[in-house]
């Protein structure tokens, strides 16, 4: 049973970013369901975590709510991460969350990325801003990502967006299937065992 963590960095309510995240989530779970995998998902909405994220940035210590969001991500087998595109890049809130997320949390983690924007002209944020950051975090980013512009949520764009979401979900489900259960990296024990090796001479 695959566990998904869905990270949404939308700033407004209702949020088209959250809407895209929910559609990707539903499509991925449906695709996994066809394969006999009753996947579950948990949403990490960053908006209510804004204050704890800033506190963690300034003090280095996460609050209980932020710690619980970190746990949700760390315990997942796959992550769906969606941000609004601002100034041709990811949103500051989105980046701030990954700045304070403990190192190696996403190492080897399958990740499906998505972005929303007012215009389709900014689609390249996926490949020029999000993908490099997740590469740095050692995540396994699914080759097909989804960008949704405002008009994609209107009556005329809905069907085309649905097709893109389904295509990305199918690819991500294959990736999840190939990766299996995500082995959480325990950097504390890794450091401890290398220390023990040193002490053992």
């Amino acid at each position: 049973m695959t566990k998904l963590a869905v990270i949404s960095a939308g700033l407004r309510e209702p949020s088209s970013t959250r809407q895209l995240a929910d559609r990707l989530d539903a499509a991925v779970r449906a695709e996994l369901g066809v394969r006999g995998d009753q996947a579950t998902s948990e949403v990490v909405e960053l908006r209510p975590l804004a204050h704890p994220i800033m506190d963690a940035m300034l003090t280095g210590f996460p609050s209980a709510a932020l710690e619980s969001a970190f746990e949700t991500v760390a315990n997942a087998d796959g992550v769906i991460a969606v941000t609004p595109a601002f100034n041709a890049s990811f949103a500051g809130l989105f980046k701030s969350f990954f700045d304070v997320l403990p190192e190696e949390t996403l190492s080897g983690m399958p990740v499906l990325i998505g972005a929303t924007g007012g215009t389709e002209r900014h689609s390249l944020v996926l490949d020029h801003a999000l993908r490099p950051m997740f590469s740095y975090l050692h995540a396994l980013v699914a080759p097909t990502a989804v960008y949704a512009a405002t008009e994609d949520f209107g009556a005329t764009g809905q069907a085309a967006l649905g097709q893109r979401v389904d295509k990305a979900a199918a690819g991500f489900a294959r990736l999840l299937g190939a990766c299996g259960e995500h082995q959480r990296r325990d950097t504390f024990s890794e450091q401890l065992s290398s220390m023990e090796k040193l002490l053992g001479g």
Partner: protein, 187 residues
């Protein structure tokens, strides 16, 4: 004399990013420019992260940037990109806030492997904000910056020489753009 706004986005006041910025703003002030530094860590967290541009102190900071003649943008390198704190503030600015301005991008990081953050991550964002001239930036390796106990800053020559050069080019660009700014102001 130009009004220059320097954006400091380090979460810590004793950071190397801050120290590097101090040497650049010091040089510009000595040249007679009026330099004002905005420390983003001093702005209220919730409005900043939630994109609330109506908060009085956030609005005042954004107004300072919008009305400046030139802007220096600094960031520590986190996760092979600019810091999230910087981006939260840039997200709050009006769409073409940097129009008519010279902009100097500076980054500080622990590894030379991340030098390209200036040109691949930061520069496109500044262009998107309408910057008229993003002058050559510089990536300062944190091991080239020593902050003494009394707060004085010692820069390795490998950092101070190129920093002086990009500062000079930035100052030149401010001068060249002054007729452009006058035109934007009239429009």
């Amino acid at each position: 004399m130009a009004h220059v706004v320097a954006i400091s986005s380090s979460p810590s006041s004793t950071s190397r990013t801050e120290a590097v910025l101090g040497t650049v703003t010091g040089a510009l002030s000595a040249d007679g420019h009026d330099v004002h530094t905005i420390a983003l860590r001093g702005l209220p967290a919730a409005p900043l992260l939630l994109g609330d541009a109506t908060d009085p102190s956030v609005a005042a900071a954004a107004e300072r940037v919008t009305t400046a003649d030139a802007v220096i943008v600094t960031t520590p390198v986190y996760k092979a990109s600019f810091g999230g704190l910087l981006k939260t503030f840039l997200d709050l600015l009006p769409q073409y806030a940097l129009q008519g301005k010279a902009v100097l991008p500076l980054a500080t990081g622990g590894t030379p492997a991340h030098v390209l953050v200036v040109d691949y991550a930061l520069r496109p964002v500044l262009s998107s904000l309408g910057a008229t001239h993003v002058t050559p930036g510089w990536f300062v390796l944190s091991s080239h910056v020593t902050v003494a106990a009394d707060g004085s800053v010692l820069l390795d020559e490998a950092a101070s020489t190129p920093l002086a050069e990009v500062t000079r080019q930035f100052a030149d660009a401010i001068g060249r753009l002054s007729p452009v700014r006058a035109a934007v102001a009239v429009a």
